[in-house]
């Protein structure tokens, strides 16, 4: 005793090979639901090529919350959109947009004040004015200060502190604006970490001992490399950025992980 392996015509009980729309024996139509049957996923979370954002660390709690990106555009911000974090003062009302372009998930900065930071995989290029995050600290790269210590118009010499030839400047940007620590780099590499580095943050529990390294390549061209830190180094994206499975990103104080399905 065997089960018929294909659809059996209701008129003449003949087996109809899969994919045929009519019975080869009697010409009766195969029902549309049989012809167009598509295998379904148990849940939408399995949908291929779609992504889910998981909140790793949130300002207003809600750690572990997931946001399914099932549509084509998904706006995130403090007031506007589908992914809302109303308590996060670092977020602009419309901050970021997660969009699919040809199957590729892209995050787009909606001209937010504070931007979007993506965890660095390998060395990332930086220029003057670019910002990045290590631990809880935010940094900015600036040109080295100008040497303005020459004699004045009346031939008076200016007394200045001992100084070197500096290549660039890296500054800690404080929340609410303002600059904290500022380091003028005389050597091409600068280490950032909790201790025994060039810039140290002994009380930052999210900062690894040696966290990241800045390298001067040429005037206005640097790279930052994460030194296998626990929490990673984040650089601010310019306009759009392609996301892949396992990416981490900060929008405001919200840390999100990207998980691609399928």
């Amino acid at each position: 005793m065997e089960q018929a392996r294909n659809y059996v015509c209701k008129e003449c009980s003949t087996a109809v090979p899969s994919g045929h729309k009519f019975c080869g024996t009697c010409g009766a139509a195969v029902p549309i639901e049989v012809v167009e049957l598509r295998i379904k996923y148990f849940g939408a979370m399995q949908a291929p090529g779609k992504a889910r954002l998981t909140l790793i660390r949130g300002e207003g709690g809600g750690d572990g919350l997931s946001y399914m990106l099932q549509g084509t555009e998904h706006l995130a911000g403090r007031e506007d959109g589908q992914i809302l974090f109303p308590d996060d003062t670092w977020l602009s009302p419309r901050h970021a947009n997660f969009v699919y372009e040809g199957g590729q998930l892209i995050v787009r900065d909606e001209n937010s004040l504070n931007g979007i930071y993506v965890r660095a995989r390998g060395p990332v290029s930086l220029g003057y004015g670019d910002t990045f995050v290590c631990g809880e600290q935010v940094f900015r790269i600036d040109p080295a200060p100008r040497d303005t210590a020459g004699p004045a118009g009346d031939q008076t010499y200016f007394y200045a502190s001992p100084r070197k030839r500096y290549l660039f400047n890296v500054s800690q940007v404080l929340t609410g604006g303002g600059v904290g620590i500022s380091l003028c780099a005389a050597a091409p590499s600068v280490l950032i970490g909790r201790e025994e580095c060039d810039i140290n943050f002994p009380s930052d529990v999210y900062m690894s001992g040696s966290h990241a390294k800045l390298d001067f390549i040429a005037d206005g061209a640097l790279t930052i490399t994460d030194l296998d830190s626990k929490n990673g180094t984040y650089t601010r994206i310019k306009n759009t950025h392609k996301l892949q499975h396992g990416d981490y990103l900060f929008i405001g104080r919200e840390l999100l992980r990207v998980e691609m399905t399928g």
Partner: protein
């Protein structure tokens, strides 16, 4: 290298306590020096060492120099001749001038000199090789105490190492005060600016007349050769019993030495000098929201200000925020260190918040902490002033 007898950890030579177990480390064999260059030999200064006390001495002296100086001093004493100079310490005047400001005249002495705290005998001794012109004075018995500030002063000293007060009975140094200050110096005045030479002796003097006296590159022989003075640098005015100095918009300003352990208020934009370092204090603005969004940044634990190194006109080098409980500055101790500046003391000064404002305190540095005069300020007898390349003691 000192190996801890308790836990066998290897410690650096100058450690007093073991890094591994915290137990006190054995000192080196008897009679040997104490390891830290900070720690003064407690008694029996050699002749050259006490001579050096007169000098202002760079605080950071490699221990080798110290040893060198000692060895040679002993030899010199035996031979009855002056001690030779030790190798130039870190940041000696000439070297510093070259390294720092290639445009500067090579003779520029970059540092305020002429006073030394009695508590830093060790530094002073270590620096004996630096002021190689210092005549070897004989060492007397125990120290006197200064009538002005009460600190101990070795008998042979003409001035108190702490406050610069002239000790009673002191004779003017033989080669000092050449009365070379022409013109103005000969006029009688109500006050005098006395140059303190790099070796701590008194140099020329400049009379300050009743009323207002101008000082600058275009005023008076004492100042004419100083390229770091503006043509009209400052004015000194007697007004009744008061005496004040006014900065006449000079490029490099007038600096007044702080009294030890006496805090002075820092205002936004104030500049002070320790060793060769010029440091600017700036207040920090509160959070600035932009359309209701707070600019993202590092956590701010309530910073009360910020210190920046002045490396040019309107040009600043490294900077550090000041937390409410303050930061210490020093050559090798403290939160902000200047390991390359031999004129900064091991621990030099402190900036902290006293509940109302930010204050700066000299914590017993050898060379002092100097604050730039903004506009004008009153002076008292004995104040030490830094103008251009020279250090002056005010007497009236």
């Amino acid at each position: 290298m000192i190996v801890c007898p308790r836990c066998s950890k290897e410690n650096q030579d100058h450690y007093k306590f073991c890094l591994g177990c915290g137990s006190e480390l054995p000192r080196e064999p008897a009679g040997s020096r104490v390891n830290s260059p900070q720690t003064p030999p407690s008694q029996a200064l050699t002749a050259a060492q006490s001579a050096a006390l007169q000098n202002d001495t760079p605080a950071a002296i490699p221990e080798k120099s110290l040893e060198f100086a000692r060895t040679h001093q002993t030899e010199a004493e035996r031979a009855g001749r002056p001690a030779p100079a030790a190798p130039a310490p870190l940041g000696s005047a000439a070297g510093a001038a070259v390294a720092i400001a290639p445009v500067a005249p090579p003779t520029y002495p970059t540092t305020p000199r002429g006073q030394d705290s009695a508590s830093n005998l060790g530094n002073a001794a270590a620096g004996s090789g630096f002021g190689n012109s210092g005549p070897a004075l004989s060492v007397g018995a125990g120290p006197n105490s200064c009538p002005a500030c009460g600190n101990p002063v070795p008998v042979d000293f003409k001035f108190c190492g702490t406050c610069g007060h002239r000790m009673p009975g002191a004779q003017p140094a033989a080669h000092a005060a050449p009365a070379s200050a022409p013109a103005a110096a000969s006029k009688p005045g109500r006050g005098t600016l006395i140059v303190i030479n790099p070796d701590g002796t008194e140099g020329g003097s400049f009379q300050l007349s009743d009323g207002t006296t101008s000082v600058g590159r275009n005023h008076g022989g004492l100042f004419a050769a100083d390229a770091y003075l503006s043509p009209l640098h400052a004015t000194f005015t007697f007004q009744g019993a008061n005496f004040h100095v006014k900065d006449e918009g000079s490029l490099n300003g007038v600096y007044v030495k702080l009294k030890r352990d006496v805090p002075v208020k820092l205002n936004d934009g104030d500049i002070f000098r320790i060793g060769q370092e010029l440091i600017r204090f700036e207040a920090l603005a509160g959070p600035q929201f932009v359309n209701g969004v707070e600019p993202m940044g590092s956590p701010n634990p309530g910073y009360v200000g910020r210190l920046s190194l002045v490396i040019g006109r309107e040009s600043y080098g490294n900077g550090y925020p000041v937390p409410p409980d303050g930061i210490h500055l020093g050559r090798e101790r403290g939160d902000v260190i200047f390991p390359e500046d031999g004129y900064v003391s091991g621990l030099h000064c402190r900036v902290h918040y006293d509940g109302a404002s930010c204050v700066l305190t000299d914590v017993g540095s050898s060379n002092g902490t100097f604050v730039r005069v903004r506009g004008s300020r009153n002076l008292v007898n004995g104040d030490l002033l830094l103008m251009g390349q020279q250090l002056f003691r005010l007497q009236f």
